[in-house]
């Protein structure tokens, strides 16, 4: 057993499990990522982009690769209804038995990366590697070790009528497991899709805290073709003793529209990057997030919007609700490149602190190199309003319910924007019973 901090030893240790699942088409990329991973340092307290999040504890954990998969279907969370396309992964590996891909419309390809053939691999070339492993050590780790994940390809002009669900379940048993799920999404010109990624524990064992720690090191790469539209949702409800480090890397073609909503509700140490780059003009990106943390949870949100082209708009709204000793981080970078005139960028982070012990570090970071742009940012940190609580109480609503209602109202700003009715209702229920 070798800790993550011992990079070379860790990779060697890993090789013992290696070689069965992954597709040979991605092998060259894996090899170059391996080389890079060994050279790249892990972030420390002096690494600017990781200032408020320490990975020291994580690096000391001797993680193993998941080997056997024994998942009790009865214990699984309720999967979506039978007619929804759903790919299920357990400890990073595709589970055909749990998945439902029987009803895929024409012009849409989806499946397990490990089973991807030459043609699919070729089509995914423009997507795979979009998240740079040159300077992101955890992306390098994922690219070095990943052996499975999901791909979704929507061909030109196709519209996916119903949301596609991707479920990443973790079932560590008694060991400390590392999984490196990879998700590749390619939308052709004029296509449209809705995709939901979920990360959660697979069984009640881990929820009871009787299991080993697990580490989900996820990379999601998305390319939107010209005039394509993608609604993306990520629901992160990992176990409270889990590590979750993830990157969603997006490249948008001209006149495309991308929206993502990230709901962070679980995990012990969580870092989630959303990185969007405009590769064409007249595109729009909506990057929203809601993070809920209690106990000693640490949730770090890192967003980068790269206005590399002119005439694009980005709207960013992150809201956090922190209680107990929880620690939240929001870091929002916006780059406006010299040619990106007529950029319209708006960033907002609002945080509700429900206890004296909760902490938030919020940091807007705007780097603007064009002169004809509109860029705004704002951050607020506050508590529940006593006058509002009193008002509700004078109408017969008890204090606990009043606090719940006001917390819900705060979160509803983000939840209310979810376009999938069932998902929105599920999230509303989660908040109202907070």
């Amino acid at each position: 057993m070798t800790a993550l901090a011992e990079k070379t030893g860790f990779l060697k240790h890993w090789d013992r499990f290696n070689g069965k699942r992954f597709s040979p088409y991605f092998e060259p990329l894996r090899q170059s990522a391996r080389a890079r991973f060994q050279d790249l340092p892990f972030p420390t307290a002096r690494t600017e982009d990781w200032r408020f999040t320490s990975v020291t504890g994580l690096l000391g954990v001797p993680f193993e690769a998941p080997q056997s998969l024994r998942v009790d279907r009865q214990a699984l969370p309720t999967l979506p209804p039978g007619d929804a396309n759903c790919l299920v992964f357990v400890n990073g590996a595709f589970s055909g038995a749990l998945s439902n891909i029987g009803n895929v419309p024409a012009g849409i390809k989806l499946g397990s990366l490990a089973q991807a053939g030459a043609e699919t691999a070729e089509r995914l070339k423009a997507v795979m590697g979009l998240a740079s492993f040159q300077d992101q050590v955890f992306t390098a780790l994922n690219t070095s070790l990943f052996d499975d994940g999901a791909y979704i390809i929507v061909e030109e002009g196709r519209v996916v009528p119903r949301p596609i669900e991707l479920w990443y379940l973790s079932s560590p048993g008694q060991k400390n497991l590392l999984a490196n799920p990879r998700t590749l999404i390619a939308l052709g010109k004029n296509s449209q899709a809705t995709i939901v990624e979920r990360f959660l524990p697979a069984d009640p064992l881990s929820a009871l805290g009787q299991a080993g720690a697990y580490f989900t090191n996820a990379v999601t790469e998305i390319v939107l073709g010209e005039r394509s539209i993608l609604d993306h949702y990520k629901i992160q409800k990992e176990d409270t003793n889990a590590y979750h480090i993830a990157v969603t890397q997006v490249a948008q073609g001209a006149a495309s529209s991308f929206s993502t909503h990230y709901f962070a509700m679980g995990g012990g140490l969580v870092r989630n990057d959303v990185r969007v780059r405009f590769d064409g003009e007249h595109s729009e990106a909506t990057v929203n997030g809601l993070y809920l943390a209690g106990d000693t949870q640490h949730i770090d949100n890192f967003t980068v919007i790269d206005h590399a082209k002119a005439n694009c708009a980005s709207h960013e709204l992150y809201k956090g609700i922190l209680s107990d000793q929880a620690h939240g981080v929001f870091n929002g970078k916006i780059f406006v490149r010299p040619d990106a005139q007529k950029t319209d960028a708006k960033q907002t982070n609002k945080v509700l602190l429900l206890s004296d012990g909760a902490t938030i570090n919020t940091k807007p970071q705007l780097e603007i190199f064009a002169d004809d742009v509109k860029c705004t940012h704002g951050a607020t940190v506050g508590q529940l309003d006593d006058e509002q609580i009193f008002y509700l109480r004078t109408r017969g609503i008890d204090e606990k319910a009043a606090r719940g209602l006001l917390t819900y109202a705060f979160a509803n700003d983000v939840i209310g924007r979810v376009k999938i009715n069932a998902l929105r209702e599920e999230l509303e229920q989660k908040i109202i019973h907070l």
Partner: protein, 249 residues
């Protein structure tokens, strides 16, 4: 219904109420008038359970119960309603959701079944009609972006839906133009009942032209210094508060 005995209350170190006595019976409408700073809003706040006010002496009985012993929500469930001078905005919560939660909390306390969406909607639509309020109020967040008149009308609408026994109107007339005042007053008058008491707190006599009280009390310097019939309000309007101050001094 409401008995206030020698009530003293303070905010931080400042004593505001200095021995208020009042008896309000079911079916009656009383007005409390007084100049700015006389303690009118403090009295309303103490009765509703606002914790910024500390009661240092005296007692308040509501239907025989020690009112001061109850939390604000318990008072509301027992039938006490305060119409706020400055109704609070609650973005993100619709009036519909808010009012249904409030009504069901009160109904539960009374041993009644909670109302489902359809029954609730039927009830509130009746009340909206009476108060000439458009249905879209229900979908709007509580008081958010409302004009002064809309906020006050919303208070009376909530009062109509929650069906309280003791209504306290804290300067409900402030900030209303004459049309809005008339609508609010009509709404209050439609709620006058034998088993309900209404306490109207106001600086001006104007509201009392429309909501005609059974008794008028003058609050000055934390005490009720004069009580009388509805004609006392007219006298105050004509002569101002100075003669009261002189009498009290």
């Amino acid at each position: 219904m409401l008995t206030i005995q020698n009530l003293h209350a303070r905010v931080e170190d400042k004593e505001i109420l200095r021995g208020v006595n009042l008896q309000l019976n079911a079916g009656e409408v009383h007005a409390i008038m007084g100049p700015n700073g006389s303690g009118k809003s403090t009295l309303a706040g103490v009765l509703a359970g606002r914790n910024a006010f500390e009661v240092t002496e005296g007692q308040v009985f509501y239907n025989g119960k020690d009112l001061l012993d109850l939390d604000p929500e318990e008072r509301a469930r027992e039938g006490v309603f305060l119409a706020f001078q400055y109704p609070v905005e609650i973005p993100g919560v619709t009036n519909m959701y808010f009012l249904r939660a409030a009504l069901n909390a009160i109904r539960k306390h009374r041993g009644q079944d909670e109302l489902d969406g359809a029954k609730f909607l039927k009830l509130v639509k009746e009340k909206l009609n009476v108060l000439h309020i458009a249905d879209d109020l229900l979908k709007r967040p509580v008081n958010e972006g409302f004009s002064g008149g809309e906020k006050k009308r919303n208070e009376i609408f909530q009062m109509a839906v929650l069906d309280p026994r003791l209504c306290i109107l804290d300067e409900t007339d402030s900030g209303l133009d004459i049309d809005a005042l008339r609508i609010v007053a009509d709404g209050v008058n439609s709620l006058r009942r034998k088993d309900r008491a209404i306490l109207v707190i106001t600086h001006y006599q104007r509201l009392l032209e429309y909501i005609v009280p059974d008794k008028v009390h003058v609050l000055y310097d934390g005490r009720i210094v004069k009580s009388g019939g509805k004609e006392l309000a007219l006298e105050l309007e004509a002569k101002g508060y100075d003669w009261i101050k002189e009498q009290a001094a």
